[in-house]
Every structure is written in structure tokens, then in C-alpha cells.
Point group: C2
Chain length 194, copies 2
DNA sequence: CTCTGGCTATAACGATCGTCATAGTCTACC
DNA sequence: GGTAGACTATGACGATCGTTATAGCCAGAG
């Protein structure tokens, strides 16, 4: 085989990320994910033999990589431009879904509360947040921001955007993101200036 | 009857809020909520005849009121003190649950993505966010902050704390909240000074 | 004491869940 | 052309979901 490298597997992952971002992890069944990706149910267990956890983990990582790629590219023009791209990206997801979709990474991070062990999907979410923060912090430092402040600001950006997206969905309004955007842009601009 | 006003009903709501904050709405069953509150399943439908939606709605409002009460009290000492109390409150929830609990309002806000109509629990979440923002913004304005800036900052505080709590849970570390706290305190202090 | 009505106990309803097993199809290579 | 192995089709498993129904309990009012 091999030629294939069918986008089938990737379609499932991307579709899973989308559905998780709308309804949360445990409200999204494997059957629905398969149907949404026009793949048979059997295929999901063929590609993801460890079941739902594996699929959720890959969906988180997929989203993480997708956002990180956009972030890396836009950060080349500077931290403010990177921030603006980050904001625009989430704005588009919320607007284009008519306030129904958000961030699948946050959705997974919130729904996993095991007693004994850490599920892989939760660990993946932590790594994705770290990755986004690292990209922002590195760019801030490269433009003159002090290290500690850069780290703090990067965390604030990721956290507040995640929270704001959820608030926009609840309120069915983009005003929270507008407000957060203005504050964050001023903060980032100030950090690389002084 | 009437004398009763048994705390039974309230116990169910409080327990539901706690469980939702740990596992999310759809991962929390009514049976488990009843058991957690040591109430029979029948009672749940007696007190909340509209079922899970009603219970979720009341859990959101219950949490909203509880936080708002703490916020109102501590804001009397000023915006910075109010912010600190807000941060301490969420810090305690995360730490005392060993990173397993978060904010039930956020959990509900994220898990509801209906096609046709807005579920009452989601509307309640929007109102709770609004309430928290209003309290913070009013305090900021009362201490000299310009109105627009106060509103923006209030949104940023609520959103970033919500997001940070989720990040702390995923990373199993309080570092994100430490960083966010420092940034927010500086911002609030700056806003009421100039 | 009787009776009323808030609360509980118990069982069931259809639906759907995650997961697995098994047999079948198809394609790529020898 | 035949064989291997990737993928699909189908159906079942036990469990659990939200919800409802019905019968029973038990305190307080008359």
C-alpha cells in the first residue's frame, strides 16, 4: 500500500478536533466522529487502536501544530503581528461557526479529571499550551523584552485568549475578544518597547 | 411543609457544580450527582423537573452568586484587593482539588453547542461572566479608571483567570496562575493610578 | 386518627455509549 | 493471477445514559 497515505486518517483527526471544539470531548462519540469524516466506524479503531483517548490526543496535537505553524509564520514579522494573527485565528473560528466552535485543546483540558493517572490527551493539551507560550515568549525576548516578563506575558496571552473565546461563545458576541485584543496589543507593544 | 427548606436541594446544586467543574457537564450524570449529594435519584427530578438542563443552570447560577458575593465583599477594599481575592479563590479550588477541579461556568460554556436554540445553562453562564465583569469594572471606575479601559480590563481579568485555571489543571502546576496574577495586578494597579 | 402532600424507593423505557470480533473487499506487489 | 495485508462492513457485548412511572413512606394539619 503506502501510496495511499489516504487523507482518511487525517480527515478523522481534523474532524474530531472540530467536533470536540464544539461539544466537548465526552459529548462527542466515536460514531459521530466517524460519520462526520465520512469514514466507517471500523476505520477509527483501525487507525486509532487505543480508542477515543488516542483520537482525542491526536486531535489536540493536530490543533496544536496547526496553530503553532500559523504563529511561527506570523511572529516573523514581530510579536505584535503574531499576537494579531493569533487573535484573528480564533476570531475566525468563533465567527465562522456562529459561536458554536472554540478551542479543542481547552475542551480536552477541562474534561479530564482522573483520579489515578493522567490521560494522554490531557498531557498533550499541556504540551500544546506550553508550545504556544514558548513561541510567543521567544519572540518577545528576541524583540527586547526581559525574560521573566516575556514568559508572564506569553502565559497571559494564551490564557486570556482561551478564556475570551469561551466567553464570546457564551455571550454570542465578539465584544469580549475585541476588549481583550486591545489590552493585549497594548501590553505586547509596551513590553518590546521598554 | 415549608419549614423544611431542606438543604437537600441546595446540596444537590452545590454538588453538581463541583462535579461539573471536574468532569464537564456531559460527563457528569444525574445519577452521580444524586449519589454525590446523598440524595435519591427520584429527588433530583422532584426538585428539578426539567432535568439535567435545569440542574446545570442552577449549578452555574449558584457558582456565579457564590463568587460574586466574595468579589463584592473584597472589592470594598479596592480593585487590587478584589482581584487578589478572585485569584486566591480559584487558586484554592485548583490546589485543594489537586488540579482536578476548575470553573463549572467555563465547563458549561464550552460544552453547549446547540444548532437551533440557546440552552438555559449557556445563557446563565453568559450572565455570570457579565456579572463578574460588571463588579470588577464598577470598582475600577470608582477608583478613577476610565470607563472603556475599566471594561476592557474587567473582561481581561475574568477571561485570563478562566483560561489560566484550565492551563494550571492541564499542566498540573500553579505557575500559569502565578504569572497571570503578577501581570494582572500590575495592570489593575496601573489603571487606578492613571 | 385520618388524610394530605412533599419526598423517596424501585424499576423500567429506549437510546446510545466505547469497544471488540469477524468476515469481507480491494489494491499493490511478486 | 494469486497472495498478503490494509481497509471496510456489520453486528454484537455489556454498560450507562436521561427520563418517566408508580407505588410507598412519613410528617404535620384537621
Amino acid at each position: 500500500m503506502a501510496k495511499s497515505s489516504t487523507p482518511s486518517r487525517e480527515r478523522i483527526v481534523a474532524g474530531a478536533a472540530d467536533m470536540i471544539s464544539r461539544r466537548g470531548l465526552s459529548a462527542t462519540s466515536i460514531r459521530e466522529m466517524a460519520k462526520h469524516a465520512k469514514a466507517p466506524l471500523g476505520s477509527t479503531y483501525h487507525y486509532f487502536p487505543e480508542g477515543k483517548q488516542q483520537l482525542a490526543t491526536e486531535a489536540v496535537r493536530y490543533t496544536g501544530e496547526w496553530v503553532a505553524r500559523a504563529l511561527r509564520k506570523e511572529l516573523e514579522a514581530g510579536p505584535v503581528e503574531g499576537l494579531r494573527a493569533f487573535l484573528a485565528l480564533w476570531r475566525a473560528i468563533v465567527v465562522e461557526s456562529d459561536f458554536r466552535a472554540g478551542c479543542p485543546v481547552l475542551a480536552v483540558a477541562i474534561e479530564e479529571a482522573p483520579a489515578d493517572e493522567i490521560p494522554p490527551a490531557l498531557a498533550a493539551a499541556a504540551e500544546v499550551f506550553d508550545q504556544w507560550e514558548s513561541l510567543l515568549a521567544a519572540s518577545l525576548r528576541a524583540h527586547g523584552a526581559e525574560a521573566e516578563r516575556a514568559a508572564q506575558l506569553a502565559t497571559l496571552v494564551v490564557a486570556s485568549v482561551e478564556g475570551t473565546v469561551a466567553m464570546c461563545r457564551a455571550k454570542r458576541s465578539m465584544e469580549p475578544l475585541d476588549r481583550t485584543a486591545e489590552q493585549l496589543e497594548a501590553l505586547v507593544a509596551g513590553a518590546i518597547r521598554g
